[in-house]
């Protein structure tokens, strides 16, 4: 399941003036691997995710993406058109607030179809069939294909956002607190679905969350961040069951034990 190397991050640093966003982060990611970045709010998780997904230029460090054809691309060294192309084909981003990732005034079908049309698909019937297939996969009734996301519940919007992100079969998905702001039963269903899709399409995922339960359920590996630094990384079970760093120990012991 876990395949070839996909992303190589070396010495990634982002300063906001004198303050540190994230400092000296290095890791590798392989195909089909789910990496969770956990830490309290303000620890630099989102800064790191934005740097990784080419939305925020880092102050130092390199990110190398290894494309399916074997080409090694320097994410911040390539031209802007190539980078934006990468962002809408091989990569996808799932936001915490579905409003950021969806076009609220465009129907569900149009939302899913946008990425297909952006890469040159010009057959209405084919786009619509694909959109309705994706709605089924994320458990939204296909009769809702022409409804706007503004008519959807929070959980449905989040599932629609995932369908939209996965429609062009990306290899790498960035997720920023995908279950944040949803009630517990909806969260559970969404996590189940994400886990199934990740397995089915062999997606590599970089997942930012403050919820250790989400990390435990979805991720193979995790990185613990505090004050912009990665203090511990390793296999998820290992980190959660046998935390080494003082901050991780504090984090793990702060969850209610049943």
């Amino acid at each position: 399941m876990i395949g070839a190397e996909l992303l190589r991050v070396e010495g990634l640093t982002k300063h906001y003036g004198a303050r540190i966003g994230c400092a000296d982060v290095s890791f590798d990611l392989r195909e089909g691997e789910v990496l969770a970045i956990v830490g309290e709010s303000g620890s630099g998780k989102s800064t790191l995710l934005n740097c990784l997904s080419a939305q925020l230029e880092p102050s130092a460090g390199t990110i190398t993406y290894l494309r399916g054809d074997g080409a090694a691309l320097d994410v911040y060294g390539m031209s802007e058109p190539a980078r934006r192309m990468l962002q809408r084909t091989d990569w996808a981003f799932v936001y915490q607030d579905a409003r950021d990732g969806l076009r609220m005034s465009v129907s569900a079908g149009g939302n899913i179809g946008e990425r297909m049309m952006a890469v040159g698909n010009r057959h209405y019937g084919a786009i619509r069939a694909e959109a309705s297939g994706w709605l089924e996969r994320v458990e939204i009734g296909t009769d809702r294909i022409d409804d706007r996301p503004s008519a959807f519940s929070g959980g449905m919007r989040q599932r629609l956002q995932i369908a939209r992100a996965l429609a062009t079969k990306p290899r790498l998905v960035f997720m920023d607190e995908p279950t944040g702001g949803l009630d517990v039963s909806v969260q559970a269903r969404l996590l189940d679905m994400i886990r199934a899709l990740v397995g089915q399409y062999n997606l590599a995922v970089i997942l930012v969350t403050h919820d250790l339960a989400v990390a435990r359920l979805l991720s193979h590996r995790m990185m613990v961040m505090t004050k912009g630094h990665v203090v511990e990384q390793g296999l998820t079970d290992q980190v959660l069951d046998d935390p080494q760093h003082a901050y991780t120990q504090q984090l793990v012991s702060s969850i209610l034990q049943t």
Binding site: R103, A118, H123, D146
Partner: protein, 313 residues
Amino acid sequence: MTNSISEGQRQANRERALGVARSGYNFAYLDENTKRMIRRAILKAIAIPGYQVPFGSREMPMPYGWGTGGVQVTAACLTPDDTLKVIDQGADDTTNAVSIRQFFEKTAAVATTTHTHEASIIQTRHRIPEEALSEGQILVYQVPIPEPLRFLEPRETETRKMHALEEYGLMHVKLYEDISHHGRIATTYAYPVKVEGRYVMDPSPIPKFDNPKLGGNAALQLFGAGREQRIYAIPPHTQVVSLDFDDYPFDPGHWEQSCALCGASESYLDEVITDDKGSRMFVCSDTDFCTSRTAAQEDAGKSDRASNGEGAA
């Protein structure tokens, strides 16, 4: 066009233009530096077909939305030897057309006409003349909103980037939405086009019926948006393609009826309500096209009668 006039006529035109100068207006209202600035924008627009060139739009003595962009482009193109035609929705005799024609009669003293083939510059609002244009003619459009992506992406910084990087997927999302809601592409005017395989362009609110005339046209087509401060162009004989889907191809539309006055079946028709009981008729929106057809039919009728009379006598 302008080459065919005699030296005497040319001299007379110069003198009329000087008369305008003595009355206090510069020729064609705008000062020479402003016209030079606009001409630079026009040249750049011609060099990059479909690209929106920013220009320093001036206050004109008419409100925005009445063709301030078109008037500035026309003013920058006019010479004393030009013949000007102004149409509004195809008609020469509606308020907008009459007032702009009078504006240039007063400020440039140029010859004006209602005949499409006599004009060297045609300023238009929302139509392309039915009669095929020829080389040397300039068609100037009045444009309210030059940005085809405006209602899909409100950020100007973002739309500029989308044009620069040729990211036009969003334009098809609009057409997709049309089909999913109406069963067909329901955009009937300002129908987006791709110019010379590169820039997606708003052809101004002309009916989609006129879209096929944009491409391969022998005339130079200039688009001026006064409030939005943009000029763009389609040079003569440029490829212009209306956007569509493979399984929902572009359809310019057609009428069941023919024109009630001239009988034309291939022209763009206006529906005119004729009384309070709901009676209606369909007539050509291009008044010059319609009247010249009716005149030709009357002439033919006369000569028919004349030849019939000769035969009888």
